[in-house]
């Protein structure tokens, strides 16, 4: 499944623009600095203004790339993009001809998908979910022998909150009320400030909730959303899909990916001077791909900024349980705002959480929620309405979200084993983060900021001029060029930095810290060997 570039002469300026836009991403013959998001913005604006006169559709083929929604064409999502397609082909090659490649397995370090790389689920959570999926067995004597007592108890408790105990029925469109109560209580226990179950919308993962907010906020390309660069490309893709404008603010690599409010201000003012109505600020904390954990003071400045400028604060907090450094702690933006004395009248805040990350890593379940505070009943009605069109999120994911926000407590039968599993995973992640960080820093021309949190490392690679020229000749962006070579030599799949955004002229790639610990030494040595030979070949 290749994402191909639209080639050949096209009839309308729309397609020339689309082609140029795509070449920006694929770096076809343009200079490296053309990855500037400012140029992207310009292209997006130009292409959407000519979208009013699309070419006439081919009468017998209405759904072709010429005639589909141009916003679909414009959006990009590198996490599962080109490099992954190449990896899949290599994987097939390995299967068909074992031993034909210099490695014997592909290691997918492109995506935060812990359980696909051997991480085990939390036993207690799975016990409860299995019992809720098949409640008939709760009446059987044998169940006591197979499941922990507290998982049985929790399953009963949850089932009692579901009308008719029917886990196969559509629920309330915001999610089952009893589960939202549990989540609200969990938020309160975490933050020390109350949460209202009616502010919670359970969704199929955090991503659909982000889409919902973008849909609400964006009416046209005149609506701008401030996003960190580098960012997790759900944001850029979603903004493109909804026809808005991404307003970048740069995180400072020199200061551990620091977020300066002065930078926010600068970008905001520049956007406004161009006639953009900036609606919201996205903050990912802990950061993805950058891994930094914001200091509380920093968060206060951000809250103040949003309040002053009337921006909705979109707080992506899906990595809240992934913190690897003792000097940093997770503080939710809700907690920070409330501790500043700011309530519903002061700030519009949407906080996103997911079951996919943390120590539970239940990506395939598609569970998550957004907690919305500070908006009027009329707006809440609209959000509810949009949620209702899809009826509800999957029930099993809803149950899991409530478990994540209200896990076993001290004294519960499963607490010790739960704790051991959780600590084991988090401590291992912290070790892997450090090992890989050190490994990257030991490579020539590579510097890598510490992963304070989340699941990724985002090393910066200073590519020699010779490599950059070779990339240009191959009509490939330099970072993709490096990543492809890396993949072909080692079987390790990483995502080029241009998929996340980076300061023009700098190159990065994102690598997860998720392969199992026993695989890490081999990865490190393969990476080291590869990099050495790459630099030997391309050193200036």
């Amino acid at each position: 499944m290749r994402r191909s570039v639209i080639g050949g002469a096209k009839r309308s300026s729309l397609f020339l623009l689309n082609q140029a836009h795509r070449s920006l991403h694929h770096h076809l013959g343009s200079s490296p600095s053309s990855s500037a998001t400012a140029l992207l913005l310009l292209l997006r604006r130009l292409s959407s203004s000519s979208a009013s006169s699309p070419p006439p559709p081919n009468m017998s083929n209405p759904v072709t790339v010429q005639s589909i929604n141009p916003k679909v064409l414009q959006c990009e999502y590198a996490v599962r993009g080109e490099i992954v397609n190449l990896a899949q082909r290599l994987q097939e090659e390995l299967k068909a001809n074992p031993g034909s490649l210099p490695f014997d397995e592909i290691l997918y370090c492109n995506i935060g998908n812990p359980q696909s790389l051997g991480q085990l689920p939390i036993t207690f959570f799975r016990e409860v979910l299995a019992l809720c999926d098949h409640p008939t067995i709760l009446d059987k004597a044998e169940t006591q022998g197979l499941f922990s007592a507290d998982s049985i108890e929790r399953a009963w408790q949850i089932l009692d909150q579901i009308p008719g105990r029917a886990t196969g029925a559509y629920s309330h469109s915001q999610g089952i009320k009893g589960l939202r109560d549990t989540i609200a209580a969990g938020i309160e226990a975490r933050d020390g400030f109350p949460a209202n179950p009616n502010d919670i919308f359970l969704t199929d993962g955090a991503s659909p909730a982000v889409h919902m907010m973008m849909q609400l906020l964006i009416s046209s390309e005149k609506d701008g959303i401030l996003c960190p660069i580098p960012q997790y490309p759900l944001y850029s893709a979603s903004i493109a899909l909804h026809g808005g404008s991404l307003i970048p603010y740069y995180l400072d690599e020199e200061t551990g990916w620091g977020l300066e409010v002065s930078e926010l201000k600068k970008q905001l003012e520049e956007a406004r001077s161009k006639g953009i109505s900036v609606r919201a600020l996205v903050v990912i904390n802990p950061g993805n791909p950058t891994g930094q954990v914001l200091a509380e003071e920093n968060q206060r400045d951000i809250v103040e900024f949003c309040k002053k400028e009337g921006l909705v604060l979109l707080a992506d907090e899906v990595y809240q349980e992934n913190i690897y450094v003792p000097e940093k702690k997770f503080h939710s933006f809700k907690k920070v705002a409330r501790s500043m004395g700011y309530g519903d009248n002061d700030l519009c805040l949407v906080s996103f959480q997911s079951v996919s990350k943390g120590y539970h890593g239940e990506c395939g379940k598609r569970g998550g929620y957004m907690e919305i505070t500070g908006f009027s009943p009329e707006v809440r009605e609209q959000i509810y309405k949009v949620a209702s069109v899809n009826l509800c999120s999957n029930i099993s994911g809803q149950i899991l979200a409530s478990l994540v926000m209200s896990p076993p407590k001290v004294g519960d039968e499963s607490y010790e084993s739960y704790s051991a599993e959780k600590d084991g995973i988090l401590e291992s992640l912290a070790r892997r983060a450090k090992t890989l960080e050190d490994a990257f820093n030991s490579l020539e021309g590579i510097t890598c900021n510490k992963a304070e949190g989340a699941m990724y490392l985002f090393p910066r690679i200073r590519l020699p001029e010779k490599a950059i020229k070779a990339a240009e000749a191959a009509k490939t962006a330099p970072d993709l060029f490096y990543c492809r070579h890396l993949l072909n030599a080692t079987g390790v799949v990483v995502v080029p930095g241009s998929g996340f955004g980076q300061v023009p002229g700098t190159w990065h790639f994102r690598c997860t810290i998720l392969p199992q610990e026993d695989k890490i030494p081999a990865i490190v040595s393969r990476l080291t060997d590869f990099h050495k030979s790459f630099m030997d070949e391309y050193r200036d």
């Binding site: 759904v63 009308p163 559509y170 395939g364 609209q382």
Partner: protein
Amino acid sequence: MAPKGLDYELLNENVKKVQYAVRGELYLRASELQKEGKKIIFTNVGNPHALGQKPLTFPRQVVALCQAPFLLDDPNVGLMFPADAIARAKHYLSLTSGGLGAYSDSRGIPGVRKEVADFLLRRDGYPSDPELIFLTDGASKGVMQILSTIIRGPSDGILVPVPQYPLYSAAISLFGGTLVPYYLEETANWGLDVNDLRNAVSQAKSKGITVKAMVIINPGNPTGQCLSEANLSEILRFCYQEGLVLLGDEVYQQNIYQDERPFISSKKVLMDMGPPYSKEVQLVSFHTVSKGYWGECGQRGGYFEMTNIPSKTVDEIYKVASISLSPNVPAQIFMGLMVNPLKPGDISYEQFIRESKGVLESLRRRARIMTDGFNSCRNVVCNFTEGAMYSFPQIRLPPKAIEAAKSAGKVADVFYCLKLLEATGISTVPGSGFGQKEGVFHLRTTILPAEEDMPAIMESFKKFNDEFMEQYEDHKGYSRM
């Protein structure tokens, strides 16, 4: 105070235009009344398990085992789960890339998509390509994805049946397109006339709208009619001539309550027509685990199959799917189990057949009970529910009732349904939520309340209706619409 980002005035206008009556005014009022302690019978949404239908045992056993794979290692697991469920759980786990907790391929687990393809071959007699089958978090998500790919702006029109399931109107509003209605003819058993389609398209054209796709819901929702092979050929020929992509919502294909018109898929008819149609007409077909006799609404499992869609377009659709990473894995397993069911000889086969038949036969009976029940009421006329899960009776409201509704500031059928709700606790969806001809009123209810409750429900409805008609009629008799 400075305007804030989520002020109502600044919201995306397309969002404000969206209507979705299925969980709209009536449902909200019903929920309020329920909180006050009133007994409510929710017949507003096709949600079988909420009305007492039990899940099929076998799929629940399999998925429970997949959730908790440590069970498979326990020597006592055979005491609690039959061997075929255990084997099937192992089979599906082996198809995943790390169990239920790992993102799958963005199109869905390849092994499950292969099972869907095999099912389609068995059902239709034509091979299917798993690469063109995408699993989704419910069919609704798939519909939204396809519509958002097709609709560029307000000059793109989508032909939608009236009455329709309001996901279509809501999605078209959300994506800023234009809904081009084609009316189903109630007196002809909700049939459609190709001439109406042609007129609709040319009228749209004269308004500067390019119609790009046509939606059919077969069996129909809310109307329940099952399309014949001749109907489908006509429709496909029409799509060929007009260059429309056909969106075939076939989520109720298992719910058929008459024998004259069994389900036949759009794909089969298209392929049977042979070239040029079979090679040219673009078709997207939707299916789900939420309906049929499975009724697993809460799992959010569905798929769409693309036929004759250019590969570059498929790439774009894949790209958008990849942004949401993957559909939920447990539902993918439900889908696999649905399309690859038990066979005679399997340990759980008898039970599975018994449970499935039980549901379907009861639905058939309830379709009849409800249709007959409505037809016995004053000023109510109801087409038979040939398929799906709903009854859509026409309520011939007397002029005085319509006046009363107006004074109360309500649409006439909303007024009637609210009164019905308050009097009987029966929560329906007014026909205006689905679209209907001007001045003709309906309500949609489901045929899902338990069979033993049906007679009482129909009695309760009849009592309310006949009293309502008594109250609002002139003594000359009911007025004709």
